[in-house]
C-alpha cells in the first residue's frame, strides 16, 4: 500500500458495519419461513417515499425496482450475505415495499414448452 497510514481494517476483519447491525440483531426474518433462493421479488408499483429506510434496504429496493429479481440475484448484486438479505427483504415485505412470488416445483411447471425452450436456448448458446 502506497499510503503511509496503515489501514486499520481489512477484508478479513469482516465488513465495517457488522451484519447484525444491519438486521438489528435478527438472524431470521419476522413471520414467514425463509425466502427461497429462487423466489422472485418485485417492487410494489406505488412505493411511498422511503426516507426512513436503512441504506442496505434502499439498495435492495433499488435493485428490484428495475426488474423483478430472484433473491439470489439481489443478494449477489447487493454483495450482502444471503441471511441478511432475507431479513431485510422480510422487513420490506412487511412494510409493503415489495411483493414476493414463491417458486413452484418443477413437477408443477405450468407451461409444457418451458423445458423445450430451455433445450433450444442451451443448444443455441
Amino acid at each position: 500500500m502506497s499510503d503511509s497510514t496503515p489501514q486499520w481494517y481489512d477484508d478479513e476483519a469482516g465488513p465495517l458495519v457488522r451484519l447484525y447491525a444491519m438486521t438489528a440483531g435478527r438472524a431470521r426474518s419476522v413471520g414467514e419461513t425463509s425466502l427461497d433462493l429462487m423466489a422472485t421479488i418485485e417492487a410494489s408499483p406505488m412505493v411511498p417515499d422511503a426516507p426512513m429506510l436503512s441504506p442496505e434496504k434502499l439498495t435492495l429496493l433499488r435493485i428490484c425496482q428495475r426488474l423483478p429479481q430472484t433473491v439470489t440475484d439481489i443478494a449477489s448484486e447487493a454483495g450482502l450475505p444471503l441471511g441478511v438479505v432475507r431479513v431485510l427483504l422480510g422487513d420490506l415485505l412487511g412494510a409493503g415495499y415489495i411483493t414476493i412470488s414463491h417458486p413452484i416445483q418443477p413437477t408443477q411447471l405450468p407451461d409444457s414448452h418451458i423445458l423445450k425452450e430451455v433445450l433450444d436456448g442451451l443448444r443455441a448458446l
Partner: protein, 215 residues
C-alpha cells in the same frame, strides 16, 4: 426450481421463470470450471457458523470473537430469453458444507454430478444424495488430461446407476462440452416430467373397460 409469475409484472416485463440446476461432486472435480464455462459466474455470500471442523482452515488470529464467517458460493445464470433463466449452483464440495445442500436442492430441476475417474469415490455421496431424494441427475465424467479413459458403461456400473441415468464424458473447460451435459440433463428431466398434454392424451377418457375373462 421454477419461479413463475402468473400475472404480468407491474413493470411490464415478461413473467419470470427461474430454473435451478445443481452442480455437485467432490472437491476440485471441476464444478466451478463447468459453471464458469457455460455461464457468467457471480458470487453469492452466505454465513456459516464457525465450528470445530473449520478451525484448521479459518485462521482466527486477531478475530477470536468471530463466531460466523461468510462463505462465497458460486452461481451462474444463463438467460434463455427475457424472463426465462437457468441458474447453476455449484454445491460446496467440502463435508462441512453439507448443511447447505438441503436448501440448494429444494425445488431444483435437476443436478449434474461431476466425477473424476481417478478418484471416483468422491462423487458417491452426491449420487447417494440425489438418488435418495429422487432428484433427476446426470453424471458428467470430467476427462482430465492424463486420466485413463473409461467406457460410459463402466462408469455407470461402478456407480451402480439406474440404467436410465445418463453418463456423459466431457471437458468442463470447454463451453460446448459443458453445454452438452446440461442439455442431457434437461432432456432427462423432460422424460421424467411428461408434458401435461401428453399425460392427458394418454388417458383421454379414463381407464378403458377391461375385457372379461371367458368362463
Amino acid at each position: 426450481m421454477a419461479s413463475v409469475h402468473s400475472k404480468p409484472s407491474v413493470n411490464g416485463a415478461n413473467p419470470l421463470v427461474a430454473l435451478k440446476i445443481l452442480v455437485a461432486g467432490g472437491f476440485g472435480v471441476g464444478k466451478t470450471t463447468l459453471v464458469g464455462s457455460v455461464s457468467e459466474i457471480r458470487p453469492l455470500h452466505t454465513e456459516e457458523a464457525l465450528t470445530g471442523a473449520s478451525q484448521p482452515v479459518d485462521n482466527l488470529n486477531g478475530v477470536e470473537a468471530k463466531t460466523t464467517t461468510t462463505v462465497a458460493m458460486d452461481f451462474g445464470r444463463i438467460t434463455i430469453r427475457d424472463g426465462l433463466c437457468l441458474y447453476l449452483f455449484g454445491t460446496p464440495g467440502q463435508d462441512r458444507f453439507w448443511f447447505m445442500w438441503d436448501e440448494l436442492t429444494q425445488g431444483a430441476l435437476g443436478a449434474v454430478v461431476l466425477a473424476d475417474t481417478r478418484r471416483l469415490a468422491d462423487c458417491f455421496p452426491a449420487v447417494d444424495y440425489f438418488e435418495h431424494r429422487n432428484i433427476p441427475f446426470v453424471v458428467g465424467v470430467n476427462c482430465f488430461e492424463g486420466s485413463k479413459k473409461y467406457q460410459i458403461d463402466h462408469v455407470s456400473d461402478a456407480l451402480d446407476l439406474d440404467k436410465d441415468t445418463p453418463v456423459v464424458l466431457f471437458d468442463a473447460r470447454e463451453k460446448d462440452s459443458g453445454k452438452q451435459v446440461l442439455i442431457k440433463l434437461v432432456e432427462h428431466v423432460s422424460q421424467r416430467y411428461p408434458r401435461p398434454a401428453e399425460l392427458s392424451s394418454a388417458q383421454p377418457g379414463g381407464a378403458l373397460p377391461k375385457r372379461p375373462l371367458r368362463q
